[in-house]
């Protein structure tokens, strides 16, 4: 009940609007016993009043080449389509009271998620285990995913996600060989949130893996690299240094990111778009990197990165208390899901939903090795002063490096 009070107060959620009743942490470290060693770590978030169960598996991308990561995007299209024993229609039926299974690729992890109805925890855990070890991966579906691997639909996504084009060497066979390497139970983390008993969930999860033994990994040849395609408009892409963040750091950095480039009241919108007319679209975001997180500033413009940096330095120096108040208010509202908010590019949901809370419960320990403590994020936001905000922004602007994705002045008309 302590957790209820802390979290509900933290995110301004009333008893009517938040389904959260109890947040109990039961991280399962299954590194004991031969058979249990292979089971992925799991975090069970018990919320007795939730109406469904959200299960999310996080697979880190560490160690995979860029080509394999792009190939993984094709695998993500197919992996949630059924297992050896469960067909796609059955899978859709089993998850019809929750959330359709789907997988998405993020900068530092692949997330496989699904939802089932209340009382169907066993089904959720079985489906998760099967999808990560025995996915159906039909030839036709894999071929379809490779053929459909898009040139990105728009320039902004291409800049954010990198080129989506896959190697011409990519085959269904390659994807099948990549699958057990990527979905390595020793590296993955499962997070499950919903109305169940955490200890019982833990026992079912262990039981689910009791008869599983790691497969022999098939040979995997290197894929030919694919050259990055050119972008159609000029783009300044500035990357800050990679940092490991605590929850408090996360709150402070989110405030900084919001002040710089989230929302129309941000420095980037006002200085680059409104005051100078340099760009239609510009934003700052916090994005995961290999070993931490980094701030990124993106501006679709024909101007140079130095011009952008200089305009922002000027804007930051002129920040007032009203800018700080806006950044804090918008960061809090965005993180809690009150408004659609683009400051975080993690693929995770807002804390106002069960899915969002389950995401953070699983992703944060995977990323940082620390238990997710949202009240500390709020403390971080609250702790930022105007002076500190200006100083941190000025330091960041000095540290930003122009990323290879930048296409400065590539379009003279823009």
């Amino acid at each position: 009940m302590t957790a209820l009070i802390a979290l509900a107060a933290l995110w301004g959620a009333s008893a009517e609007t938040s389904p959260l009743q109890v947040a109990r942490w039961t991280p399962v470290d299954s590194a004991c016993g031969t058979q249990e060693r292979a089971a992925p770590k799991a975090v069970f978030l018990s919320e007795p009043d939730a109406g469904w169960i959200s299960a999310q598996l996080f697979v880190p991308l560490e160690g995979l080449s860029q080509e394999d990561r792009r190939a993984l995007r094709c695998l993500a299209e197919v992996v949630a389509e059924g297992s050896r024993t469960i067909s796609r229609p059955e899978l859709l039926y089993l998850t019809s009271s929750g959330e359709r299974p789907r997988a998405t690729l993020e900068p530092d992890h692949l997330r496989l998620r699904l939802g089932v109805g209340k009382g169907e925890l066993r089904t959720a855990l079985r489906l998760m285990r099967e999808l990560m070890t025995e996915a159906r991966l039909e030839e036709a579906s894999l071929l379809h995913a490779i053929e459909a691997a898009p040139p990105s639909r728009e320039v902004w996504n291409e800049a954010l996600q990198g080129s989506l084009a896959v190697s011409p060497d990519l085959t269904p066979r390659y994807l099948r060989a990549l699958y057990p390497r990527a979905f390595d139970p020793a590296k993955a983390v499962l997070a499950v949130g919903g109305p169940f008993d955490a200890a019982e969930a833990q026992a079912i999860w262990r039981q689910e893996w009791s008869h599983w033994s790691p497969p022999r990994l098939p040979r995997l040849d290197r894929l030919k690299p694919v050259p990055a395609p050119g972008l159609e408009v000029g783009l300044v892409d500035l990357k800050g240094p990679e940092k490991r963040l605590t929850e408090v750091d996360l709150g402070r950095t989110l405030t900084l990111v919001t002040a710089l480039g989230v929302g129309k009241g941000s420095a980037m919108h006002r200085a680059l778009r409104e005051a100078r007319g340099w760009s239609y679209r510009q934003e700052a975001l916090l994005t995961p990197s290999e070993r931490g997180m980094r701030v990124r500033l993106l501006v679709a413009t024909g101007r140079s990165s130095e011009e952008v940096r200089s305009a922002l330095r000027e804007a930051v120096a002129a920040w007032e208390e009203a800018d700080l108040a806006r950044a804090k208010g918008f960061a809090r509202a965005g993180l809690s899901g009150v408004v659609p908010w683009g400051g975080l590019r993690f693929g995770g949901g807002a804390l106002s939903s069960l899915e969002g809370r389950t995401f953070w419960a699983g992703y944060w320990p995977l990323k940082t090795g620390r238990e997710w403590a949202p009240e500390r994020v709020r403390e971080g936001i609250d702790s930022v002063t105007l002076e500190a905000l200006r100083a941190e922004a000025a330091t960041l602007l000095d540290e930003l490096e122009s990323a290879p994705a930048s296409r400065e002045n590539s379009n003279p008309s823009s």
Partner: protein, 403 residues
């Protein structure tokens, strides 16, 4: 921002069912409480109380006399950009400080101003709307700068939207100009033209307000009504109807765009043919890799477009090559996809306010349920006819020549 199309669906490799919402977001009642009020002026208020922590308020400004023409192509889009700044130029900052959000979009038949405000803070919406609908005071420099920003925006239009725009022009000629605008036209617009059009557009008779969220039905209706009645009043603008296309089909090739599309004209939103054409498009697109469907509900004749973003021209083979049996097999899938998509629009407060407000701004009798009823009543013969409208020789085909 131009948001030219309401229904834009990408069909992935697994199109059978759309993503489902979390159960906690579902409202378990067949027909929620909802009140539509039509004022004497023709202005409309729709209020739907719905649990949640935010209220969505959407204002639609629809003046048929301001429909895009070759001489004013982009005027409404420019007005949208300028009005969102607010009177003092810091409206966004004030709203974001309160955890609220302001957005706008120019659609083919209407201009939308949207607000998301925290529960209990409808006052923020009224203050913001009063500011954005007040007569514009525009400096020459502001106009020039905003024109430059629009130029940046036009260069970022994605391939699917460019294909759809080309299809509209192919089918409806100058009556099918996109809402984005043409930079060469926008550059010539004067402050007086913009100001006059903005004041006309935001007159009471052209406005529809939809409010969805944790509100008191009567109180929110009264507040919206008071806001609308505070607006100047006049005669509703009259514009030319797009008219049904007389050409049977056609082909247009466009440079520097990747992908291809097939389009079929449809009557107004509540016509059964609109439902069967949408169902056919969704079913056919589900057969394509990287397929998409675009449809903008309208009281006037419109267009349903399906296509894909790949450089390989596959539509001829994949659509024209379908056997009669294969078409029939898509019937139930098309109905299910169209139903699911319609229902999905109504799962969030923003979605409800947007779809219901948009439909009401087109015709006070329009409701999303008309689409669902027409889908239920759709016969196999209707579906077959709709599929045929996407196939040679009847379809309008746009092919991008970019790689």
């Amino acid at each position: 921002m131009v948001f030219s199309f309401l229904w834009m669906v990408w069909m992935g490799a697994s199109p059978a069912l759309p993503p489902q919402p979390a159960l906690e977001e579902w409202v378990c009642q067949a027909e929620p409480l909802r009140l539509r009020t039509v004022l004497d002026s023709g202005a409309i208020v729709l209020v739907e109380p719905r649990p949640g922590s935010t209220i969505s308020v959407q204002l639609f400004a629809t003046d048929p006399s301001l429909a895009e023409t070759p001489k004013t192509h982009g005027l409404r889009h420019l007005i949208e950009h300028l009005t969102l700044k607010g009177g003092a130029g810091d409206l966004d900052r004030r709203l974001e400080t309160e955890g609220a959000l302001l957005s706008g979009s120019t659609l083919r038949d209407t201009l939308r101003i949207g607000l998301i405000v925290p529960a209990g803070r409808l006052d923020l919406a009224w203050a913001a709307l009063a500011e954005v609908t007040a007569p514009l005071e525009i400096e020459i420099e502001t106009l020039a700068r905003e024109t430059e920003i629009l130029g940046h925006e036009l260069r970022q239009v994605d391939h699917e939207e460019r294909l759809a725009s080309a299809a509209w022009s192919l089918v409806y000629g100058s009556a099918g100009l996109d809402p984005l605008g043409s930079l060469s036209v926008i550059e010539k617009l004067t402050r007086e033209q913009v100001r006059e059009a903005q004041q006309r557009l935001f007159r009471q008779e052209h406005l529809t307000i939809a409010i969805v969220g944790p509100v008191d039905l009567d109180k929110a209706t009264a507040e919206a009504r008071a806001f609308l009645e505070s607006r100047p009043k006049g005669e509703r603008g009259v514009g030319a109807n797009r008219g049904w296309p007389t050409k049977p089909g056609g082909l247009r090739e466009i440079e520097e765009v990747r992908g291809e599309a097939r389009s079929a004209p449809v009557p107004g939103f509540s016509d059964p043919k609109a439902a069967s054409t949408l169902a056919a498009a969704l079913a056919l697109a589900s057969e394509l890799s990287d397929g998409f469907v675009i449809y903008t509900p309208s009281a006037q004749p419109g267009l349903v477009t399906l296509g894909h973003g790949s450089a390989d021209p596959v539509l001829e083979k994949r659509l024209d090559g379908l056997s009669a049996v294969e078409v029939d097999r898509l019937f139930e899938r098309g109905r299910a996809l169209a139903r699911a998509w319609t229902a999905r629009q109504l799962q969030t407060s923003e979605g409800v306010a947007f779809l219901r407000g948009l439909l009401l701004s087109q015709d006070p009798a329009f409701r999303p349920e008309a689409m669902l009823q027409n889908l239920d009543a759709m016969r196999l013969s209707d579906f077959r006819a709709a599929v045929a409208s996407f196939r040679a020789p009847r379809a309008f085909h746009v092919r991008g020549k970019g790689r």
